[in-house]
Symmetry: none
Subunit: 419 residues, 2 copies
């Protein structure tokens, strides 16, 4: 059993865009114990698509294709597949219905061009797409199964999970199952984490543990295998337990979970609410919180007070503090946290004020200088000073500040009893 | 002239690591006018490596290989290349010297197994590596040139820049320069844009124009070639002008520019300011605006009013509107836009209220129903109703709503004179 993944798009081979679908699909197939042997990426050229499909069909049993299913003239996957299979393209009634219904649900007229998305090679099955207009394709060609999905990652992932994975169970029974798991830490640097984990990351260790860093979140990636999913899970468990115990204070999530998700869990556990006052992060802290579903009972809201006048009028920051210490100061961070906590009637008030750059820095207050504030129900307010570094881009300064203040709130809640 | 990039490593096809070398090399080759037609990724398997090299040599003139040059048993690039070329591997004295010298500089003993890194197929040249132990390979096989570099990105990039790029000038001078440019549109669907651009996207048109969609932003990708960069630029210009004129109202940016950047340009041009009142987007609109450097004079701030109490107290939304129409209604969007405009003393007030899901939808107000508000200095306020679709994930509903309201503000400002 061998699988190949083909990603189609001129923007991918030219280097304008990075293909992330192939990696994602490979991980998914490995959880089913289906080993991926090849990734092929190629542009929107019919002859090359036909040739690449032929190569794949000769060397793999299962071929997952992403891209080339849109309504435009450079979407050639349908045509290439029909040529390789040696069958004509015909309009599939159920596909046309699905596309028409999708436009109707969005109250938009369907363009005539979208009709080509209902064309299928004779003998192919439709893979329904409930989040976009392009239906996918499932087809047996020679001895291989070929399945084609749209290149838009959100559509590809939904369709894979809901439609393709269930169909792949026929292949999943043979071979070994490999499971991957991620545990995410925040609050220490990569080398500090690694120094405390040399026994885990040693080469040849089973299960294998790797470390990666992204946006100041450090992740352990654990890979374990077994004859069954259950066996792989059992092989992984002692390592997960070891990491969870050793790094308990730093762990902010597992899988895709990061600081905001961990904070929401603590808000829910303690029945607390949170309000945010943001200057240099400009709404990012609130956005990270509200990206989590189910947050509305725990987050009444926040203020983005970019202008000093807004800090005074909406948060009650005294004008004298702004004049004496400047907007980027511990004193103003304090007043912002207190003000936002009161105005939103929240358990905790968080604040961020700093210099996100690239301009606006001074020798005393350089780009990357950020003050955080945390106001608590006991009437206290604490502040922290971050120096993220004037060489860092605006986005990094904003993201690190936001994650830091969210993590601070999480740690403050950890000390509270469950409601 | 066609190039292919081959990335070797079992961690890549299994999905544990993301291959970024191929994208990086593609961009580099395109600046030399060498078009990349294929990326192939495969694991550490000798037979598969040999077969993939044979396929590449048959369909490409230049093949760049990354990975498989280390000292361990799963590093098979040297051996595969020798098999494909039909020549033996022999130890190259200058390579052994270079490897020994590298270990000496790091004051570390050289392990016996590093000696295999000095093996080269007969007829191959060494590509020196001054930042690591693995020398690269440059070799003509049949009619193709094959060059192999280590997979570590920092080593690959240094060696490419210092050693490989200069050698590629032989291809670049005989070849052509290819330039890529992106023009980004917002406000219409991909098929509507395509329908208005069939002449541009026709197969075989020069310069080539493709369409891609990402987060409801539709991009034209224009690729033009010429003997020199100047010639390529001239070849591209008429197509850029044509697109800019035909889609003037929809264009939000070029290159990486999107809606928020285009809005900031209009705020600067007209000397206007903007304040935001957000419910379901939870700070995303403010975050998109403040991700732009230099925004502080044009964005006093905003309120994230998740709770109804916050809508009343911080934005002055009458309780009666919330009771009668509900928080997700045109009436509340109106009141939020008016309230935020007044409180932040801004030229424009923007508001978003909706159901981002995945829960909280009702038959009358399903997930994906969003109301936008825009309050203007003439005392008027307008609202819009979006139906993004209950099947869409929370993130997409939030992102589309945010981009839509930013674009609405941009269009409103387009009508105003420059300050």
């Amino acid at each position: 059993m061998k699988a190949e993944i083909i990603a189609i798009g001129s923007e991918l081979v030219s280097g304008q865009s990075l293909d992330t679908n192939s990696q994602w699909l490979s991980r998914e197939l490995s959880t089913l114990g289906i080993p991926v042997h090849f990734h092929t990426t190629l542009g929107d050229d019919l002859d090359e698509n036909v040739a690449a499909f032929r190569i794949a069909i000769a060397r793999a049993d299962l071929i997952l294709v992403s891209g080339g299913l849109g309504p435009t003239q450079d979407d050639l996957t349908r045509e290439a597949l029909a040529l390789v299979a040696g069958v004509p393209l015909v309009e599939k009634a159920e596909a046309l219905e699905a596309i028409t219904a999708m436009f109707a649900r969005r109250s938009r007229p369907m363009a005539e061009r979208n009709r080509v998305q209902a064309l299928f090679p004779v003998g192919a099955e439709m893979v329904p797409n409930r989040v976009g207009t392009a239906p996918g394709i499932w087809m047996k060609v020679a001895n291989a199964v070929v399945t084609c999905l749209p290149g838009v990652p959100s559509e590809l992932r939904t369709m894979y999970e809901e439609q393709v994975r269930p169909r792949l169970n026929q292949f999943a029974t043979s071979g070994r199952v490999i499971l991957h798991h991620k545990i995410n830490l925040f609050g220490k640097g990569e080398s500090d984490v690694e120094a405390a984990a040399l026994d885990l990351t040693a080469r040849g260790r089973i299960p294998e543990v790797g470390i990666t860093a992204h946006d100041a979140t450090i992740s352990f990636r654990i890979s374990a295998e077994g004859a069954t999913e259950e066996e792989a899970r059992l092989a992984m468990e002692p390592t997960l337990t070891l990491i969870r115990e050793r790094f308990i204070e730093l762990i902010v999530g597992e899988g895709t979970g990061d600081v905001a998700e961990a904070l929401l869990a603590q808000l829910v556990r303690t029945g607390s609410t949170l309000a945010t006052a943001e200057s240099c992060t400009g709404g990012l802290v609130a956005q990270m919180i509200t990206a989590q579903p189910g947050v509305s009972d725990y987050f009444p809201g926040g203020v983005v007070s970019y202008a000093n006048q807004a800090k005074q009028e909406l948060l009650g920051v005294p004008a004298s503090l702004l004049t004496t210490y400047g907007a980027v100061s511990a004193e103003v961070a304090e007043a912002m946290a207190i003000g936002v906590r009161e105005r939103f009637h929240a358990t905790l008030g968080l604040s961020v004020t700093g210099v996100a750059g690239p301009t606006g820095g001074t020798p005393e207050k350089p780009v990357g200088l950020v003050f955080l504030g945390l106001a608590t129900p006991d009437g206290r307010v604490q502040t922290r000073r971050l120096e993220i570094g004037p060489e860092q881009p605006r986005e990094i300064i904003q993201r690190r500040s936001a994650k830091h203040v969210l993590n601070w709130a999480r740690l403050a809640l950890l000390a509270l009893p469950s409601k």
